[in-house]
Amino acid sequence: MAGPKYLGFDTLALHGGQVPDSDTGSRAVPIFQSVAFNFESDDEAASRFDMARAGYVYSRIANPTVAVLEERLAMLEGGIGAVATASGMAAIHLAITTLAGAGSHVVASSSLYGGTHNLLSYTLPRFGITTTFVDPRDPGAFESAIKDDTVLIFTETIANPGCEIADIPKLADVAHRAGLPLVVDSTLSTPHLLKPISFGADIVVHSLTKFIGGHGTTLGGILVDGGNFDWANSPRKFPTLCDSYDGFGGVNFSEEFGLSAFIVRARREGLRDFGACLSATSAFQLLQGVETLGIRMDKHSRNCERVAAFLEGHDSVIRVTHPSISAHPDHDLAAKLMPGGCGAVMSFEISGGYDVAKKFIESLDLFSHLANVGDAKSLVIHPASTTHSRMDADALGRAGISPGLIRLSIGIEDIEDLIADLSKALYLAQK
């Protein structure tokens, strides 16, 4: 008989984090829609408050339904632990503020989701946290931008809408040589296509709202700790983890919890005080998506490759941006990091600029015109006038967002129907 083995991705996507409920036999994850949880005794109450015994206290800090989602995602990513949040933006905020305070500095890719760009460019500076943006394809630029007060490097595994692929091994090397963690937003790749921790990333964030939830019904985010980063090697750089914390009875997270210091502090300070927790009902709904993540992502990826190939050969299309296209600058890197497919968000520039782009979008029937990606249904939007409209012309130029650029999120419909819809809209737009 062969020895025991780690369970596979699809098995964990269905079962991870859940022991079927012993009282009821419920096969589905129960929704524990309770704000607080009973204590057996004073001893148990005090101990749970003090992180001295396992168990639940109050659903802003931890909830049994949410915990299934957290543990499942930690398992799928190969992390040691996870904290779920009310949205993907809340997860990014929690990741940064667990490490950074006034005077801290971040080095980040210049090609980021518009919401993240807003957070780093406009909001966090009000609290004394500044960011230097660099070319996502230039690891040397990340290295050059590191300053004494830099606390982390941030990038997206697949940027949007330019589909720049982060060279995680090289960026991890840059970060680790400087004693910094690499934080990656892996929303568009999902753990089915890419496990950033296995390539050297230290912390992974997701908007669960997108492919992981997959049905466009529920907002959520998650922060996964790889558990590889030794915070104690740079105690002065990471005082939130390496100094005693008066806000929790003088705990020194690094000393007491070692490799899980980051994720423990994120929950015990960040969720407690910022309060952007995920609800039990949302966690349940997101878990329905996680169960089919693998088979959905396979079809998303295959459909997207077919759509990209179709658009690349169309006369009305100036350029197509998706790593499956051989001319894409990150085609080889994507094949190395994501051999199973490089996601289903792509963009293309339509001939004729903004007016034609608008007409194209309004001529689509199957594609839904809305500000989201990662739904099982196909989606479309015009980035320059919507998701990235807060960026100035220079920033739009650096991110490759032209007036004629259209972003598509390819769903899992029949591919023939999607191509027919695109073909018709391209014809009508140029008419």
């Binding site: 859940q18 396992a54 398992m75 992390g79 040691i80 779920a84």
Partner: protein
């Protein structure tokens, strides 16, 4: 807190500030390739009760420096030296796996000093398979995988931990990956070569509790039977569904057993 012993820096999580002279100090000893963080919740619990507790990092493990100690006997000597340094006269002693063998050896030697004894994931002999020892000797990832895969009960493969959001198998793997090169082999070899267990158990005077995981494949419940009958006063507590890593696999049940073992009046 940090201690200096023979020129080496020794780390002990916990605190002894509140200790009354007559009170036992709770001493927690980690297993092969691990460190004090294995006991993080337990350490916090005992501290929260106003008790003195120290979770030691063996030399070359966790935050402690110094060369590895190659035998269980040397490790017991070292714990004795730490207790002498701290002027501790009475201890309630708990160890997990390798730490359990050290605790057993120490309790057998120092009847007067050890008032209570808890052995978690303990069996005797604690034989280590040749493939695991060989893989550990080569410091290979296969050795760490074997410890994680054989060290957890089947239910833990699916998770369901009561400490929210934690993936305990990956956590155990990271702890082993973070250990100093050679630490796992040194420790497993020390367990494999330890032969004084039955006599040590006969010599133990402390009230003893053996805490075992129902699905422990490394030190199965059946492996505790031989040693259990050697103690003057010992009981067996079996943690349902748990494997060898019961402290993380079933934290609440293990906590209750540990408290009952070390603090009979609570």
């Amino acid at each position: 807190m940090y201690l200096k012993l023979d020129g080496d820096k020794i780390f002990a999580a916990g605190d002894m500030k509140s200790r009354a002279d007559s009170e036992s100090v709770i001493v927690l000893l980690h297993g092969a390739g691990m460190d004090h963080t294995f006991w993080a919740y337990n350490t916090r619990y005992f501290l929260s009760k106003g008790l003195s507790v120290i979770a030691l990092d063996f030399p070359g493990h966790g935050n402690s420096t110094g060369p590895f100690l190659e035998t269980i006997s040397e490790m017991a000597n070292w714990v004795t030296a730490c207790l002498d340094l701290l002027q501790v006269d009475s201890v309630a002693l708990a160890g997990h796996s390798m730490g359990a063998l050290v605790a057993l050896e120490l309790a057998g030697r120092e009847k007067e000093r050890v008032s209570r004894l808890a052995l978690l994931g303990a069996g005797f002999p604690m034989e280590v398979s040749s493939p695991l020892l060989e893989a550990a000797r080569n410091d290979s990832q296969a050795a760490r995988d074997m410890v994680v895969l054989f060290g957890h009960g089947s239910r833990s493969y699916l998770g369901g931990n009561t400490i929210a959001g934690m993936n305990i198998m990956e956590g155990a793997l990271r702890l082993l990956q973070r250990s100093n090169p050679g630490a796992l082999y040194n420790d497993l070899n020390a367990c494999n070569e330890y032969s004084h267990g039955l006599q040590a158990a006969k010599d133990v005077g402390a009230v003893t509790t053996v805490i075992c995981g129902e699905q422990d494949k490394m030190t199965p419940v059946s492996a505790t039977a031989g040693i259990l009958e050697q103690f003057v006063d010992a009981t067996l507590s079996v943690i349902p569904f748990s494997g060898h890593m019961m402290v993380s696999e079933s934290p609440e049940l293990t906590h209750r057993c540990l408290v009952a073992a070390l603090l009979p009046d609570v």
